[in-house]
């Protein structure tokens, strides 16, 4: 290698690391420093006090954790739920309170009662006067909120990402000239895709782009891995990324209407079960698991799409949560999903579902006891799986001992750890590794491939990017309009975090090797598509002003126009 080439390689490596860190830092900074201001939808007057109603679903009660806290005698800790429909109609529900709920002195039915501006809601003897707000007033309030992207410009972050991608391409060119045209085309397409995505968002008046930027950051690493391991499949990978973004937009559009979302939950549950049933019956066994389904020459993993449907079914609105207090149906549904996955032999995905189930059921019930119960049940089921399925037992036996059997049970991990260590902190350069030649390196061991080719720092940035997405979910859950969006976003990130942990630590022998994919980076169509769809859930909970295309702006809510027209 001549000196110019090696210097360019060092330059490109430094730039890539610098930009990786910058991109993550900018996204986290935007997360920490942006003002997340609550939207105000109405007021409840309590004596002389004006209590803002900040969500579409609000818990009224004496508890500190109530959204509208009424600390008076006769009010239960969790007393009533005040809900706004997508059409702008408000309903109050009694959630098994001791004191009961009256609207304009009429005791409400178990199906709740509509409330309109000026109505008096009596909760356990305390009067709350409900004041809806005019569109004009809401507009004024909305104008005072800070729009997303004011502190940390999304344009700047995307620009950094673009430079990152160009240098990544440059590194491919420096390290090998094979398939260069194809690789350049793929990177150009990715650049075009993200800028197209960004400009459409801007045209729609939306300025929150952190989630997409992080997803595109991970995608570009995934593209680099694919370019290195299967350049002949690069076009397919690129087309899948485009398809993923299209699905993301479609899904986001679908999630805009909460009414539409909740109406289709039954359908989603049916679809999930049907997909799993088809999978159990028709799939072929590949390496111990039967998680692939082949239709007309195209093979895909149904479980990846079941993930999306599972979240869709598992998330719930607040009123529903409080009115149907048990988790029984959801638990049964989860059990069917996990058992089906166990039958298929997809232990890793079953685990991902299970952790997601834990997070969702905790979010829904707040009960640690439920979680512990579920953990115990799963522990026994897991023990059964280990004793019954030989390929799972083998992986457990090899766990922690991969170096003792580098030609047998520890074959993949020993090589992954070796190649990862050989990459050092800065990596050997795109396409210069050897681990990619090992079976399933670009899916199950992709963390090690990135360690080898891009170095430990970028590989850690890759994990941090997924964690940053999770922080977004937690942060914006606080201001979500409906519990459905908050639960769906957190559930989605629980899945992706679990996948990340299983992928990274399975490869590095800190956990048994389960063969799940790393979000966006692992090669594989189904996984990529489902990851993009999960991002739509995340966008659904982002209520910063003008941040997300999934969230209708306050100024032009269709419900209001309908009401105004009616009035």
């Amino acid at each position: 290698m001549n000196a110019v080439l090696s210097h360019s390689l060092i330059l490109s490596k430094s730039v890539l690391i610098l930009l990786s860190v910058l991109i993550i830092v900018r996204c986290l900074r935007s997360l920490l420093s942006e003002r997340y201001e609550a939207e105000v939808w109405a007021w409840l007057q309590l004596g002389k006090e004006q209590l803002p109603v900040t969500h579409w679903e609000n818990l009224i009660g004496r508890s500190r954790s109530a959204d509208i806290r009424v600390d008076r005698d006769g009010v239960s800790r969790a007393h009533a739920v005040l809900v706004r429909s997508g059409k702008g109609v408000w309903t109050v529900y009694d959630i098994f309170s001791k004191g009961g709920v009256w609207v304009n002195r009429i005791k409400i039915s178990p199906h709740g009662a509509e409330v309109h501006s000026g109505d008096v809601i009596n909760v356990g003897g305390t009067n709350l006067r409900f004041r809806d707000m005019t569109t004009e007033k809401r507009r004024q309030l909305e104008d005072k909120r800070t729009a997303a992207g004011k502190r940390v410009s999304p344009f700047g972050t995307l620009l950094e990402l673009s430079v990152f991608q160009i240098f990544l391409l440059l590194q491919h060119a420096l390290c090998s000239t094979d398939n260069l045209a194809m690789i350049a085309l793929a990177f150009a397409a990715l650049l075009a895709l993200e800028w197209l995505c960004y400009s459409s968002m801007r045209l729609l008046g939306r300025s929150g782009f952190e989630i997409e930027t992080l997803a595109f950051y991970l995608s570009s690493l995934g593209l680099s891995v694919a370019a290195s391991s299967v350049p002949e499949d690069l076009l397919k990978q690129m087309l899948l990324t485009i398809a993923g973004v299209v699905l993301f937009l479609l899904m986001g559009w679908w999630l805009r209407s909460l009414r539409r979302v909740t109406a289709a939950r039954g359908l989603a549950a049916a679809a999930a079960l049907a997909l799993l049933a088809v999978n159990v019956v028709f799939s072929e066994e590949v390496m111990g698991a039967r998680n692939w389904l082949s239709i007309g020459g195209y093979s895909f993993q149904p479980s990846e799409f079941v993930k999306v449907l599972y979240l869709y079914v598992g998330a719930s609105t607040l009123d529903r949560l409080y009115r149907k207090q048990n988790l029984f149906v959801f638990m049964a549904f989860s059990a069917v999903c996990v058992i089906a996955l166990a039958l298929i032999g997809d232990f890793g995905t079953a685990l991902v579902f299970f952790v997601c189930f834990l997070v969702i059921s905790f979010l829904r019930s707040g009960s640690i006891a439920t979680v512990l119960l579920a953990l115990t049940g799963a522990g026994m089921a897991g023990f059964l799986a280990v004793t019954v399925k030989p390929h799972i037992a083998r992986r457990f036996a090899a766990w922690g001992h991969v170096w003792e059997d580098i030609y047998g049970a520890g074959y993949q991990q020993a090589r992954a750890m070796s190649a990862a260590a050989a990459g050092g902190l800065f990596g050997k350069g795109a396409g210069s590794g050897w681990l990619k030649n090992i079976v399933a390196a670009d899916t199950d061991m992709v963390f090690a491939v990135v360690c080898e080719e891009q170095g430990l720092i970028i590989a850690i940035c890759m994990v941090l990017a997924v964690m940053a997405l999770a922080f977004f979910a937690v942060r914006s859950a606080r201001y979500g309009r409906s519990a459905w969006y908050a639960i769906a976003a957190c559930g989605a990130m629980a899945m992706l975090l679990t996948q990340t942990a299983l992928n990274v630590f399975g490869t590095m022998d800190l956990l048994p090797f389960t063969g799940v994919t790393f979000p966006f980076v692992s090669r594989g169509g189904s996984s990529l598509l489902s990851c993009w769809m999960l991002m739509a859930f995340l966008k659904g909970s982002d209520t910063r002003k003008d941040a997300s295309f999934v969230v209708n702006p306050v100024r032009v809510l269709p419900g209001d126009t309908a009401k105004e027209a009616g009035a």
């Binding site: 679903e57 750890m417 070796s418 050989a422 050897w434 999770a470 859950a477 606080r478």
Partner: protein, 428 residues
């Protein structure tokens, strides 16, 4: 909503677990990254490396694709004790023990900038071949080193194996007898007893020893190989007289014997550039005079490792100072005093006298200024190990050597010609 969003922080628990996992991985990475990277070093370092002998002759070379050894089977077989193989079947081969030295690894860059290192060894492949051929199919060990510099010129263990041969190897072929075996020393141990006597018994040179073919110590008969009559200390060593050395060992005493055998390094493990050798042994519990006599003659439960013996002889040859032996060229080991200078010089002179007066030096070792000691270690089953250890008192060719032929018979007759063949080639 507030309730749910509070619960959302449970997600951070998952994130915290990932951070903890990454931290644990990073710690392991810092600790073991080197071992991990070098475990598949050939795959990790794109460039290849080579192992050569002192004259640059290729012993083994490799790149990402292929492993290679020396071209001819004779060299591959003779040098197997030195090189070992890529599979680590011999735990003491250079390809196993020096693997790390042949690859660059750093925590920061991994093996990225690793041009695999060509490692030159101090051994002479041709000399190894000569030694292996001289052993003529017998089991044994041959080592030659430069006692001025510490360079090991020859290290051969037989039987050996051609690493490219896929057939069943002879038993013990993966064992390097020079380093990882200890043997009953027989009379070569008299060098140790003599050195201990010079240092602990006054007036050794004034003493006379009478041999009538056998003697009795505390009622136990000690038999000698001959009837040597009255002899000086020097003559007793040259005669390798058991009667005289039984008397000397008893005079030195067990404690002194142990102390000196230990200080000469015969009871310790050593290493050759990190390749470990095994310790020898000498009776440490109280044994009484008759057994002490036998142990001073090199029988009893004495065991000596050939490499440890070479170190002792090399120190004697070099005025008592040992040039630490090494196998990797370009390194120069430290010098350590193993034997008092006077003792070493005296013993060296006696060994020189051995060859001139008793081993028929001019005939058996023509042209060599040889100082040596034979050993015929009786094994109790009628057979005996043949030892021949010594050095050339030759400024140009300062070589110390040890030759062992397992169950070979008489030291001079079985091991002597091997030493001669190797030394003749070495001085050429």
């Amino acid at each position: 909503m507030k309730r749910i969003t509070h619960r959302a922080f449970s997600l951070l628990l998952l994130a915290a677990l990932i951070v903890a996992g990454l931290a644990l991985y990073t710690i392991r990475y810092v600790d073991d990254g080197r071992d991990w990277a070098l475990s598949f070093a050939r795959a990790n370092s794109g460039s290849g490396g080579a192992l050569t002998d002192r004259s640059g002759r290729l012993l083994a070379s490799f790149d990402a694709v292929e492993n290679r050894y020396a071209e001819d089977a004779a060299t591959r077989t003779a040098c197997y004790a030195v090189t070992g193989d890529y599979w680590g079947r011999s735990g003491t081969g250079a390809l196993t023990c020096f693997w790390d030295d042949m690859h660059n690894y750093s925590l920061l860059t991994g093996t990225t900038h690793s041009e695999a290192v060509d490692l030159q060894l101090t051994v002479d492949a041709a000399l190894c071949r000569t030694a292996y051929e001289a052993l003529g199919g017998r089991k044994g060990a041959v080592m030659v080193m430069d006692y001025k510099t510490g360079e090991v010129l020859c290290m051969v263990s037989a039987p050996s194996v051609d690493p490219l041969d896929t057939g069943e190897p002879p038993e013990g072929a993966y064992l390097n007898r020079c380093l990882t075996s200890s043997f009953t020393p027989g009379s070569v141990f008299k060098l140790v007893t003599a050195a201990a006597a010079i240092e602990t018994v006054p007036d050794m040179d004034a003493r006379l020893f009478t041999c009538e073919g056998e003697t009795e110590i505390a009622g136990v008969r000690i038999v000698c190989a001959g009837e040597h009559g009255t002899q000086t200390f020097e003559q007793a060593l040259a005669n390798s007289c058991n009667v005289a050395f039984a008397e000397i060992a008893v005079k030195v005493g067990q404690e002194n014997m142990i102390a000196h055998a230990r200080s000469y390094g015969l009871l310790d493990r050593h290493d050759l550039d990190g390749i470990p050798s095994v310790a020898g042994s000498y009776p440490l519990d109280f044994i009484g005079d008759p057994e002490l006599a036998w142990s001073g003659i090199g029988q009893s439960t004495d065991l000596v490792n050939p490499y440890a013996m070479l170190r002792f002889v090399a120190a004697v040859a070099n005025g008592g100072k040992l040039a630490e032996p090494h196998l990797i060229a370009g390194r120069s080991g430290p010098f350590t005093r193993l034997v008092e200078e006077d003792t070493a010089d005296r013993l060296a002179a006696m060994m020189n006298y051995n060859v001139a007066s008793h081993y028929d030096g001019a005939y058996n070792f023509p042209g060599l200024n040889l100082s040596a000691k034979t050993g015929t270690a009786e094994l109790g089953d009628g057979s005996s190990h043949a030892w021949f250890v010594g050095f050339l008192a030759d400024e140009e060719h300062p070589y110390a050597f040890v030759v062992l032929v397992e169950n070979g018979g008489g030291g001079l007759y079985a091991a002597g010609p091997v030493a001669n063949a190797v030394l003749q080639q070495a001085v050429r």
